[in-house]
Homo-oligomer: 480 residues x 2
């Protein structure tokens, strides 16, 4: 016999009071995504303490045909962890599974459970003189499981890659409750295709990530932050290549923004000032880092990174590649440079209603894409202001379109904003890009993916999903 | 109506005389794997000239339920590209599809068809001052498609990873003939899980790789090869870590062999001599490289790599980490060092019948595994000589067991050798390792994978395979 009530009875026996709740107050904070766009009504909130219990719970869901919505820190950008409003989906919190199981200093890797918060992971690595290099704004709430399920990016992707590049091994619970366990990382293993990839960036639709073994890197010994003025995005790209040629893996981040963006930030941010004296068509914010090495004690220190960066930028200036440049003189100034970059979104929001797009195009197309797309949008929607900025190094463009002054926000969001987003997604697709560079599909972009995705790729996603979850119980309505 | 004859008529119309043959002489070289272990009898040999024709051919196979065996250079180690003896499987050669479509100097990447030979790819990259870093013994025949389908490794994996790490984009033909095309690499793209992974290391059972976009790296500006004597494998591991701490990504290869192995090679190889004067329990062969950078012209050259390596090894000697070390004084001497390493297999074969195993264990377990497994095998099969050597940096052990002197080879291969292999695979599985580090499963290890593989992992492999090829037409009898 199957019924939600019978399921809840069994689940209660399995999880106890601490592990299962239907209390409206307990459910409330987790039933809406943090941006407040999606509102769900879960059957209950389950929080198993370990993989074995989670496995038994998923088997019970399978038996009773109960759909599951896995959730970590509930800080996703696309509604991927919010249940629907049916009251029939079980919200499955991974937050209690927050143990760091092992940290191997010599091998520079850590095995931790899905509920470990990114900030906690950073601190655990730092305590051992190591570093987990992925970082992002939501690090105080985002969990390892959610970061894997969404293949999170962030500001250090240029050097260390997205989450996918940092996952060495995975443990996941499958739709029928069985545990796939591959946490022992083998550097070389050719027993078929790489199964862990089925769970990375899959938004929980193929299985529930319960633990992972992650790559750590040496701590940063020296950091240099530069602000550079250039005449065009094409020049910014040449500058990036020159920096990489001169400093190789030392280039950790490379952000670009137009002068108008900087103007808005300076207006918005009290007490802020422009890093450079003159105005430039484009500004680049570059972060360089040199890792600590165990051998530093033995050897004469290498040329300080700061000297190498100064030399590289001096050469770029001589070559006419850049107009001006300044290095942050202190950590405080470095933070001030980054604060300018991080204030772009709030500054734009303060100017009025705006739609933001998380898109990518092939790196080499980014200058041309921005040069074409922004004026085109402004022509098609007179009075709007379109601006693009972001991670030049990895082709990830933040494309914002600000509403004409004085419009009624609600009507604008309901009509023009939606049409604008479709237009931006059309353009990005024409340019061979992605409508989701780093935030995933979730509920937010599911229909747009169905509309614009390559039909063969969509069929592959669906075929694999159906093979792993034939009853469609894992995070239904997300991604596909 | 379906029949092999009707299929052949249609295929002939599609491919023409050059593209389809049933001539016994044409078929012979491709019907047996190069090691001569597997002998097949194909229905015919098809060699389409381009992706569109290959797509039409696969659709025709799908319509007529004809099984396909994709083949590149026919240099695989596990019989993965050899048809069965039924006479019903179509051998599908990718060798005519050998165009390098584009090579992007600024983005350091190349898009080439599946039939491009590795050596050709090396030369194309070198002609542009770049390098495709994956290399292996069969580079004169191995093709890009085969290298991807088997996730090939080789001697530079420590620094640059296996094929998987170098594939940026893929084009593949699916079981029903449709083309999955994702050759334009986006650095960031979160539209679901990474579909190209379904084809890497999948041995052609999920789809046929027809083209790929691959990562190139800067050419090598300076190369230093060192030969080091150490007292144990554990010390060799510490040495590797010390080298990585001192030289970071400059360590490209790190091979180890025991003294007995070196003795056999010196006996076997006319005119060869030991790099070091004394005998040591273990020897390490280390390759260091410094990439060329565009900025070299502008700047004062960095500390020569050779000085840095000398300093790192001097420190290791002072610290008692190593017993002795020598740097190759010339390219000729560097080649001579590598020849010693590459002659281990022929030297062992010359001593009599032997079974070889391509296995891996977690990197940190490798010293303990070798210390246990080799004596254990020798105890269980008295008179055998077991020896392990290989890529210490990535946990890939070459584990050879040489037959007792004087045994009859055929009987030994038919009985003891098989039992020994099963025992080695049992041990490796107990140690959390892989029965195939780099050569794949193919036909050779299919039954052993079924016997020893994690049942959940095997089910995942099967579920995905069945979802992508429900009729089982793509390379049947391989991997699964």
């Amino acid at each position: 016999m199957r019924s939600p009530d019978l399921f809840l009875d069994h689940a209660h026996t399995l999880l106890g009071r601490r592990g299962l709740t239907r209390d409206a107050q307990d459910l409330a904070p987790w039933s809406t995504d943090w941006r407040g766009r999606f509102h769900g009504r879960p059957l209950a909130l389950a929080a198993p303490p370990d993989t074995a219990t989670l496995s038994a719970l998923v088997a019970l869901c399978h038996e009773h045909r109960i759909a599951l919505v896995p959730q970590g820190g509930n800080s996703g950008m696309s509604g991927g962890a919010t249940p629907d409003a049916s009251g029939a989906q079980l919200l499955l919190s991974l937050r209690r599974m927050n143990a760091i199981r092992t940290l191997d200093l010599a091998e520079r890797r850590v095995t931790c459970e899905a509920g470990v918060i990114l900030q906690t992971l950073h601190e655990a690595a730092e305590a051992q003189g190591l570093r987990f290099p992925l970082t992002l704004g939501g690090k105080g709430s985002a969990t390892v499981g959610g970061l894997i399920a969404t293949n999170a990016g962030g500001t250090q992707v240029l050097r260390h890659g997205t989450m996918r590049a940092l996952v060495l091994g995975i443990e996941a619970v499958l739709a029928d409750g069985r545990i796939y366990s591959a946490l022992t990382p083998l550097r070389k293993d050719n027993r078929g295709f790489d199964l862990k990839q089925l769970f990375i960036g899959a938004e929980g639709v193929n299985g529930i990530v319960t633990a992972a073994t992650l790559q750590l890197v040496p701590a940063v010994a020296e950091r240099v932050v530069a602000w550079v003025g250039v005449t065009s995005l094409t020049q910014a790209r040449h500058l990036l290549q020159a920096c990489e040629d001169a400093l190789g893996p030392g280039v950790e981040g490379f952000e670009v923004l137009p002068q108008s963006c900087l103007d808005h930030v300076l207006e918005h941010l009290p007490g802020s000032r422009a890093p450079l004296a003159d105005r430039h068509a484009w500004h680049a914010l570059i972060e360089f880092a040199r890792p600590a090495t165990a051998s530093s004690a033995h050897e004469t220190p290498p040329t300080p990174l700061r000297d190498a960066v100064e030399q590289a930028l001096a050469t770029a200036l001589e070559d006419g590649l850049i107009e001006d440049a300044v290095l942050a003189a202190s950590e405080t100034q470095a933070e001030a440079f980054w604060r300018l970059r991080e204030s772009i979104s709030p500054a734009e929001r303060a100017r009025g209603p705006a739609v933001q797009h998380d898109i990518s195009v092939p790196v080499e197309s980014m200058p041309a894409f921005i040069a074409q797309a922004a004026p085109q949008l402004e022509r098609e929607w007179p009075g709007t202001h379109a601006l693009a900025f972001g991670h030049l190094g990895d082709g990830n463009v933040h494309f914002h379109v600000v509403a004409p002054p004085g419009v009624a926000p609600e009507a604008w969001y309901a009509n023009d904003a939606k049409a604008i987003s479709r237009r931006v997604h059309d353009l990005v697709t024409e340019w061979g890009g992605s409508i989701s560079a780093e935030h995933g599909i979730g509920q937010l972009k599911r229909d747009e993916l169905a509309r614009l995705g390559d039909p063969v790729a969509l069929d592959l996603l669906r075929a694999v999903k159906h093979a792993l979850d034939p009853l469609g119980l894992l995070n239904p309505g997300k991604l596909l």
